[in-house]
Symmetry: D2
């Protein structure tokens, strides 16, 4: 009998749900996931419902999507759910899971920035896990941020203390899969870009400031520098590109800036299976990062698509400019929640019996 | 016999050259243009060499591309050339045309910001015509800026005095035709965007500051606020979108900002045939401007593709954000030079006998 | 008071409905159309609900979409409805309109090939109007075929008697707008083509044989040669391209074949406002027809997008090959029904008082 | 010291050349390839010159492209060259290599269908190796066919004897990479398809008949059934889709047809490292094969992109229709030549000392 933790994916018929399936199909700590969908998708095999361009995971070949209430999940012994239900529907279901003792790691927005709910990017604000109730008292509910936020806060984490920016402006080039499937109509983006994604700019601005903020006990003080986001959809399948400009209050050298990005590795030593090492890659090629070429960056193999690729760094003090690219559905979606669960597990928030040993 | 001014297009086999052909085929002031190309294209009809998605102008049906030196153009009585030769090659040819008394209005970069050569966007810096030698002393050479610069300076012209920005950041979403034909390889941008266009950011930053600067006699003092550009190629045929963020020193109301854009019409009364009236359209639709839907904005009919469309204006003092869209090959290319020639003609720089009367 | 016929568009919030609006906004015979939509779209202006890349017609500026039952339409004096409701929903509504004396010209599939209902392409089978009940006895219900069928039967109409084919094979390159809006998900076709469009191949094969068949009194005998269709969706906004191969039983010369296509003009003299003259254009350019460049073919101006463009004709007896391109939403959609209504009107099927005179 | 055969890639700066690099970087029989390019690319690392979306092979990291004449290759001990130079340039260089005793396996068209030069697809016409001079007398020169031909002949190999077709019609949906890099201009295919690829249809028709023909001693009698091709470029990065229709003279059951495709495996037992087993996959999914989802089909791992995926088989005797998808740059390009070299090696055409043993 496996001593891996039994888990389930809520929303396994969707684009993010299927990236969860890919990442969890043969996870060393979490057991093969139960694929939970809606009545429309229930009964289909994962292959039949599959949307991403990548192949469905062979370890889940023939596996069918099922319907299941939180009560049913509890009865089946599920200990963790990974959330990929559309925002709006997800909230009450996730709450009910927690009430029944099932830990929730979710990509959906419904509980983001609620009290007691970390908005987590492990490399950036692992200490926000401290917002959770003490281990053993209540099942944890952890959210990951919007996909564009994730790509933004990764390089800013090492840069903020170094530069102490006055403000941070970001323009995005967001991939189609950020809207899920069917998502963006082909007639909307063929020979076009759309300079509007509902509520996206607000999310990026608030979430980035929150994640980069400081935890004071059970609450978070958002970062002071204002974020100024302009979000645009482009005809790219996967991979959000972001053009970042900021005005610094401090003037380190360019070498210090590049070094801060390249040596950033706060999870060193934790051994999280899906954590990219290093989390940030700096490219020197003059026309990179590009979604097509850089979205799958990240080592080891399990962490493909989890690294942020930074390029075209230009430092004309006090202004710093760069581009950053992350795979929105992996690093900014399913992978974000998986690594959150790994961190929570490793730090003892999942099992009352203390952190789990690897293998 | 026509009393229109005889003109020629240099580079009629290229994308911009062909937009010149479209705009000049039946121009009220300038005669049907001579189509000048390279030895590779000479002998082809305009239709055979045609690249834009729009149909070739029927007034030039069957017209063939010819080879012609400046000497030959002079002999043929050509009074104006419109320049669309690739930068690098264009410079000496344009110089030679001027030497032979032929006025040059050019889209190419070779002479931009040279002494005595206005970098002109009529609605923005018509008074830079004053950089030219006095009418009658030398044939004028007038350049229009980079396509991305044009889209940027149009809305900034009315906003600068109102807001007195500390800095202006712009991220671009630039269309394929900005690189001409064949230009961008399809393998470079299918399922991709490319965050690099050689020398583009430098051009935008220097040219915008220059155009928005003040003329002091025969020289220009660039605008003081730094421009911070990040330029990206996207898979759109025509139409450059720009995301603009700036920090203002003054705090007018939103109504004043919108009003300044909508009432901006400095060419009122000049009667330039290709001038859009108004030059700036402000859209209230939440997801506009879009390249596909707004690139052909502009009235009257002759000025289609000449207006700048501004949308998603957000004013959170001191930060202003908006998007602006212009047709890069029309407003930012051929149309820019045509309107420059119209202004110069109207103001008496072309004919020693004084400004031409509009019918 | 206008003596134009009052008409309505059913489905004015959809892609085809809006092409109806474009074509009917200032029609010489039919009055400005009432825009009928669903409860979801009712109340919106046409501009707010607009999907095509072309601008909404200025003659309908500010016009709002309304809800209206057939009973209500009858009360309002509507004499013709143009149908663009999704198949499945349209059938009963169209039947009810006819019952109330309102003529129906529809793009939807529900009544295609029913007894007494012509499946009409005026240049091809105008005599199928004879399937209708006698003028004055019942309001006519006329359908136009599937968009791919229309493009196929236009060139085959003159070729069939000339070549007497044994079989006809067609592979399609179908545009996104063929599926309406939102239609095809961008994730389905970005960097992809999809070799399947539900029920499309069956429709093309049956409808083409029916339209090219012979009317015997009140029924139609389908053409004998089998049609072999393979239908594929490609990432093009508008314009269906079809690759046609057939085996001929007769061996005319290539000149006769081209001549038959170019001289085909069976509606000559009828003066239908939206009829392209000629209906078929043969291009000699080696790489045409192309959707981007040829979809708007057709003269006069009102018939833009109504012509079929044929190219790359290769005749290696007994095998003939060619490509044909038609605008699926115009010639193969809204325009098809408009021209059907014009033909019916002109031939006296609409007004008991006999055919209307053209000014 | 390695006992692998020393080899070189001619044209390593091009798209096909780089797929050669990918496939040969760690090949079990052929040694790490020398990367030969032109003076323009010489000196660059493989990464700097890289075009495909896939990552460059880590085994060649930092490897530089060099210039080298056939004489130089001979001196360096190169035993095999893989040819990916543009047609037209390649011919004399390949001839010179052969003259110097270097075996040539080439993707370029210059020597196709010459006497003594097999046009080879191992699963289809392995016995055409018999066209080569006897082992030991002259270095072999083996060509692989045009990318579209390869995809066509694979499923036809088992079907021809079963169906004895009267004719075979094929319409293609060809990927951008078929034209190499830079290849197709983005302005040519964005919102467009192009129904013309110079000389492609002729190549497909002649090559397919030749490959499926019968070898009689040192010459080949082409297959009798005419091929009728219409070739079209679509906006897909990689993967040629082909719509095939044929008229059969025999009427096996559908099960026999599917079985013939699925059980086709003529290379069983030869142990060629890059051979897909099975070479043809039949998909039952209603909307497959698709370029995006099926181009990388093929097992084992080394044979990814080498299988042909057949789907939507429709058998209405005497007409058979289906779609087939192959990766044009792998199966239809570099991989085709690699498997040809493997076959030739295994069958003793490369080393006078007889076939090499696989570990």
């Amino acid at each position: 009998m496996s001593d891996k933790l039994p888990c389930a994916i809520l929303g396994a018929s969707g684009y993010i749900g299927q990236h969860f399936a890919r990442l969890l199909a043969d996870h060393p700590w979490f057991d093969t996931p139960l694929l939970v969908g809606t009545d429309r998708s229930a009964g289909k095999t994962l292959e039949e419902a599959w949307h991403p361009a990548e192949e469905p995971p062979s370890a889940l070949a023939g596996e069918r999507i099922v319907e299941a209430t939180p009560a049913r999940l509890e009865k089946l012994g599920v200990r963790i759910v990974f959330g990929a239900i559309p925002s709006g529907l997800a909230g009450p279901i996730e709450t009910e899971c927690v009430r029944r003792g099932i830990a929730v790691f979710t990509n959906t927005a419904d509980h983001r920035m609620e009290p007691g709910v970390p908005l987590l990017v492990p490399e950036v604000n692992a200490d926000h896990l401290g917002l959770l109730p003490s281990p053993g008292t209540r099942a944890p509910l952890v959210t990951n941020p919007n996909c564009t936020t994730t790509g933004l806060v990764l390089p800013l984490a090492p840069l903020l203390p170094l530069l102490r920016p006055e403000w941070i402006a970001v323009s995005s080039y967001q991939a189609l899969s950020g809207a899920g499937f069917p998502g963006v109509a082909s007639l909307s983006v063929t020979d076009n870009v759309v300079p509007y994604i509902p509520k996206e700019e607000e999310k990026v601005e608030q979430e980035a400031a929150y994640i980069l903020g400081s935890r004071r006990g059970k609450r978070v003080e958002s970062a002071a520098a204002p974020f100024l986001a302009q979000c645009v959809r482009v005809a790219v399948r996967d991979g959000h590109l972001e053009a970042v400009t900021l005005k610094a209050r401090k003037t380190p050298s360019l070498e210090e800036i590049v070094g801060a990005l390249e040596h950033f590795d706060p999870l060193r030593g934790e051994g999280l299976p899906t954590a990219p090492r290093p989390p940030i890659l700096v490219t020197r090629q003059p026309d990179r990062p590009q979604p097509l070429r850089d979205r799958w960056a990240g080592t080891p193999a399990r962490a493909r698509g989890m690294a942020a690729v930074v390029g075209r760094i230009r430092w004309q003090p006090p202004y710093l400019r760069f581009f950053v690219l992350t795979h929105n559905a992996v690093r900014g979606g399913a992978g974000g929640s998986v690594i959150n669960a790994e961190l929570a597990y490793h730090r003892g928030y999942l099992a009352p019996r203390g952190p789990r040993k690897t293998r």
